[in-house]
Amino acid sequence: MTEKKGHFDEDLDLRISPKFSEDLNTLFKPQFSVPSEVDRAIMDQVNRRLVQRHWRHRVFRHVSIWRIAAAAAVIIFAFSLNLTQKSGPITSRSVLVEAQAVDIDRNGRVDILDAFKLARHIESAESTDKSLSLVSSTGQALQKQGWDINGDGLVDRNDVDLVALSAVRLDKNKGVL
C-alpha cells in the first residue's frame, strides 16, 4: 500500500505559496483600468448573441420535428393506400399488352377467333413440319406474321394462350355490354 502511494505521488504538495501568487498577479495585472460602461456593453453584446443563437437553435429544432412528423405522415398515408393489392405481376401484364396488339385475322378486334385461327395455323403447320422452331421454314413463316408473341423463338400453344387471354382481359373490353 505504501509502495503504491509513493508511486502516484499522492503526498505531493500542490498549494501555491502566497509570494508566488502575488508575483503572478503583479505580472498579469491590466496596465489600465477598463471602465465599467465598456465592461457592461461587452457583456450585453455577448448576452444578446447568446440569446439569438439559442432562439435560432430552438427554431431549427422545431422545424426538424415538423419535418420528421410530416415524413411519418407521408409514410403512414402510403401504407394506408394498400399499394400491395395492385393488379398481378408486371411481367405478365406487359406480355398481355403485347398480345393485345396481335390481331391475327386483322379485323380490328382481338377475340377468341384470333386465338382459334392461330391454333389452327399451328396445327396445320405441325402436320407438315415436325418442329415449329423458327429455324424451320414454317416456323419462320409464322414468325414473319408476328405470331411469336412471347418471343421465345417458338410459335406454339403458349402464343395461342396469350392471344386468348388478351381477348378475355377485363380492362380491354370495358363497356362492351
Partner: protein, 151 residues
Amino acid sequence: MKEITAIILMSISIIVPVLAQQSEQDITTIQPRVRFAPLHIYLDSGNKSLAAYQFELKAVTGQIKIVGVEGGQHKAFKEAPYYDPAALANDRIIIAAFNTGSELPTGRTRIATIHLQIIGDAEPDYELKLVVAGDADAKEIPAEISFEKGE
C-alpha cells in the same frame, strides 16, 4: 424527449382513424346474408357446329362475386374456358373457349357454368352478351346465348 412524444402522438392521431375506417369496412361486408349459386350458360348455334365462343356477363342489379368457372356439357368444351383471373371476386367476366377438333356440338348446348357468391337478399339481374361464336373454319356464325339459374 418532447420531440419523440410529439412524433408518437402525431403517428397515433393518423394511424387510429385509418385503422378505424378499415375495421368499419370489414364489419359492413360481414353483415349481409351470403349464398352461393351456379349460373349455367347455353349457346344455340342452330345446325352449325360450334368451334369457338366468347361472351361477357355482368350483374346489373344485386351484389355478386364470381367465385369459379367450369367448362361445358359437350366434351369439346369440357375443359375450363379462358377468363381473366381478375374477374374472380368481381361482378363482371369475359369467358371464351375454342376447340380445333372435329367433334363439335350443334344446337343448344351448355358451354359454361359460372359459380357465384350472391350477397344480400336481393335477387341479382344479369346482362349476358355474346361477343362472337365461330364454326370449325373460324368463321363467325350467328348464335343465341342464354342462361339458367341453378340451385
